[in-house]
Symmetry: C2
Subunit: 144 residues, 2 copies
Amino acid sequence: MFSKTCEYGIRATIFIASQSYQDNRVGLKDIAEKIDSPEAFTAKILQILSKSNIIHSIKGVGGGFEIPKEKMSQIKLIQIVAAIDGDRVFTGCGLGLSHCSETHPCPVHDRFKEIRNNLANMLENTNLEELAMGIKSGDTFLRY
Amino acid sequence: MFSKTCEYGIRATIFIASQSYQDNRVGLKDIAEKIDSPEAFTAKILQILSKSNIIHSIKGVGGGFEIPKEKMSQIKLIQIVAAIDGDRVFTGCGLGLSHCSETHPCPVHDRFKEIRNNLANMLENTNLEELAMGIKSGDTFLRY
DNA sequence: AACCAAATATGATTTAAATCATGTTTTAAA
DNA sequence: TTTAAAACATGATTTAAATCATATTTGGTT
Ligand code: FES
Ligand code: FES
């Protein structure tokens, strides 16, 4: 469904949010451990997220990553996915035709479009704040 | 969403079905051309489908691949996907946790499960015959 | 100013998926 | 019974994603 890069990216972002919620800035090492991801790889992903203005990074001693509390409810999952995997998930053909089209549809186009739209809607309507809450309350998990 | 192997596999199966519908047995070369896939790669995929009893193969001169007309409406998309990609699409965690679970859910579990179930239902309820019809009538396409 | 802890940048390596190549077996027809 | 056209089997190569490694920049602290 999503690339591993994207999966890690989402998990990292949720973790940062859950910590920022209680004004806790977090560093790479901590993030990688808490979401069970390879550290160096995670570093790259965090940079993408940072450039996409999804997370905020602070360099130097005492630096780390954070997300302003006010922004959390505005950041939707779809932004993370789009920043990392692009829009192929929402616009790509289910059977791999070079582009999905109404006028030149593949055999599963109509059926697949629905699923794809459901997914897009879900990602558009899910914000970071709700997801971070689940972590904070211990109802949901970011590793294993 | 699906692997390329699986995409080609579905396209190949639909093409074979559309031809078998008019009692036309088809060979590898023809299949690869009509679905715009690499020939040698397609050969491997056809063997998987053959061993999975999704398509029937006939060796030797005049041989090729076919699907008995009576079986077409019984073959569901999900069988093809399961044979090639396994069940990861239906059972895997959306955020890449090693296994999806109700008791140890990731933050998007509930939301993602719905999408995944929709997809599974679609694949379970779509049979080869309907898909082959679209090709025959020229309403849908298997390449470009 | 010197130092250190952090993010950032860039490139190398590994791994898995996709693709290619070649030889073997089967079977109808000549 | 030879031949040729087909599927079948297996291994090699290529490509892209994932992972690792290393050097650089930034910014607070001493
Ligand atoms: S053309 Fe295949 S999903 Fe639209
Ligand atoms: S645990 Fe992630 S989707 Fe179920």
